[in-house]
């Protein structure tokens, strides 16, 4: 094909440009879908419960990911500050994942259980009341607005279609009981979604026992981040094998 033929035919040129620039992306991304060891085999990683999932939706809605990443990279400084590096397995049920690459605030991949619920509520309503040098905006409306969970069933069904193991049929429910135990399997059952949301909200994450606020969901989500895998069960050499 002659140079001139491409240069004078813009349709053909666009097609060829797209082909060339997609090669780099395809070579880096496509193999991850079929390589055996992309996702580490670890116990404990489960889908988010309905309350945590709504918290995650609020996290995305408020744009938390614009300043907070959720991916601890395998470097010594990050290990010392944040803890164990993130595993691919830990975000396998995240759609879309919240890895991010912009850290205006700290990484949140292992923030779960690090601070108390009361601290999170105080910090989200008025960050500078506990961290004077913080530049994070205030989110007071999280405590004022009641959580909308009217469409929780539809949200779980949509994620189920992408392969997240929320159970709809008896068979799927039994598989979840085997994988996560009965209590968690109930919480991951689409047919009991609202009940499980109410049940978990009894933990009173927002300090308002009579209400289920958006704060309730967000704090429930933050408190589970990075806590699903029990790293004391594994020899560190085990994770090296997967890369």
């Amino acid at each position: 094909m002659r140079h001139e033929n491409i240069e004078v035919n813009s349709g053909l040129m666009i097609l060829l440009i797209l082909t060339v620039i997609s090669i780099g992306g395809l070579v880096e991304v496509v193999p991850l879908f079929y390589l055996n060891d992309t996702i580490e085999k670890v116990d404990g990683v489960r889908p988010y419960t309905p309350l945590e999932l709504r918290g995650r939706d609020i996290y995305v809605r408020e744009g938390c990911y614009l300043c907070h990443s959720q991916q601890i990279r395998p470097f010594r400084d990050e290990w010392l500050r944040y803890g164990h590096y993130s595993l691919a397995a830990e975000s396998q049920y995240d759609h879309p994942f919240q890895w991010g690459s912009k850290r205006t605030g700290p990484d949140l991949a292992r923030v779960g259980k690090k601070y108390s619920n009361e601290w999170h509520v105080q910090h989200l309503v008025a960050p500078r009341s506990v961290v004077p040098q913080s530049i994070m905006p205030n989110y007071p409306w999280l405590l004022e607005r009641d959580l909308d969970f009217s469409d929780i069933t539809e949200r779980l069904k949509a994620l189920r279609k992408t392969g997240v193991p929320y159970s709809l049929t008896e068979e799927e429910y039994k598989a979840n009981v085997a994988a996560y135990g009965k209590e968690m399997a109930d919480w991951l059952d689409i047919n009991q979604a609202q009940d499980s949301l109410f049940a978990q909200a009894r933990n009173d994450y927002d300090g308002l026992p009579n209400r289920i606020t958006e704060m309730e969901a967000l704090v429930a989500y933050l408190q589970v981040l990075g806590t699903m895998v029990d790293f004391s069960q594994y020899d560190e050499g085990y994770f090296v094998e997967f890369r």
Binding site: H3, E4, P31, Y34, L35, N36, D37, P74, F75, R76, W79, L80, R81, Y85, K114, Y115, S116, E118, W119, Q122, H123, S129, V130, V131, P132, Q133, D235, E236, G237, F239, V240, E241, F242, R243
Partner: protein, 309 residues
């Protein structure tokens, strides 16, 4: 195009393309050294394919010939090179990690009096302790340990709820603490509440002597209120109970300093006595989350923030 520029450019080769009759494109090749550097980087890339993990092949990938060593539970292991193995190497065998381990070992073995008299060890603790404090303690107690009035105690002053010796601080970090004061809403009627608050404020000179103060004192020191069980007859507190010293003008929960008039000051003190301190002063347990040596480092670090006893 003027004649002079045409002359200048005549020496430069053109690509040979011509559009619209006479529109031509100059060919300015890159300098030879630059071009060869570019070829060399391409060759180095190929060499990297053999050293480090690279192309996917089937369901696996080219693993590369490079190896790296690291330690797991004190046992040396060797594996193929990848970022995770490199991290373990950095964590266990890098120069910085080894130096840090060496000092941590010294701190682990030394007792507090040895540490306090060893400037090298103290310098190490100030440096490592700053990081540990920032990651684990600063979210509540503040980056400088200044605390938040009403929520989290100040660690930089010399007022200690649970005692300010190195051993006390180490114990509090290790085991956590639950601050507690009963609610007096059932005990005191509004008048009594007012009197006790007035007496408490008078202890630090915030309220002048009066009949109300005398009545409050009787409640404080008598069976009516029983405040002295924890705060002591003189109101100086009891570290074994985590009971605050009420005479030192340092207020950690009721924000007395933030109020202007005596009435406002009394209001915040009354509110505290009315509701007590329940489920709000919860220092978590750090044993299990931090190693005993890290806790020791933090104890010394907190102690030297300003107010260690």
């Amino acid at each position: 195009m003027s004649e002079s520029t045409t002359k200048q450019q005549a020496a430069v080769q053109t690509t040979g393309h011509a559009w619209d009759g006479d529109l031509q494109e100059f060919n300015n090749p890159l300098p030879r050294w630059w071009l060869w550097s570019f070829y060399v980087t391409a060759v180095i890339a190929v060499i990297y394919w053999f050293i480090y993990p690279s192309w996917p092949v089937g369901r696996g990938w080219l693993e590369g010939f490079a190896t790296i060593t690291y330690q797991v539970d004190g046992k040396a292991e060797e594996s193929r090179w990848n970022t995770r193995a490199k991290l373990l190497h950095d964590l266990t065998e890098s120069h910085a990690a080894q130096r840090q381990r060496e000092f941590m070992g010294k701190v682990a073995e030394a007792d507090f009096s040895t540490i306090s008299n060893d400037p090298d060890m103290l310098a190490f603790i100030r440096s490592v302790g700053k990081g540990l404090f920032g990651d684990n303690c600063a979210a509540c107690h503040g980056r400088g340990g200044q605390g938040v009035v009403g929520l989290y105690p100040n660690l930089a002053d010399d007022d200690w709820l649970w005692g300010g010796s190195l051993e006390n601080i180490q114990n509090v970090i290790t085991n956590g603490r639950q601050g507690f004061m009963p609610a007096f809403k059932e005990t005191f009627d509004p008048q009594q509440l007012d009197d006790v608050a007035e007496y408490v404020l008078s202890l630090s000179g915030e309220a002048p002597d009066s009949i109300a103060v005398e009545r409050g004192k009787a409640l404080f020191q008598g069976f009516g209120g029983g405040c002295y069980y924890c705060h002591g007859m003189d109101g100086k507190g009891l570290p074994s109970q985590g009971a605050a010293n009420l005479t030192d003008k340092i207020w950690t929960i009721a924000d007395v300093d933030g109020q202007k008039t005596l009435e406002e000051k009394k209001a915040v003190v009354k509110k505290l006595i009315f509701n007590g301190v329940q489920n709000m002063r919860k220092m978590p347990t750090w044993k299990g989350r931090l190693s005993p040596t890290e806790i020791k480092v933090l104890a010394v670090y907190v102690h030297q923030l300003g107010g260690g006893q």
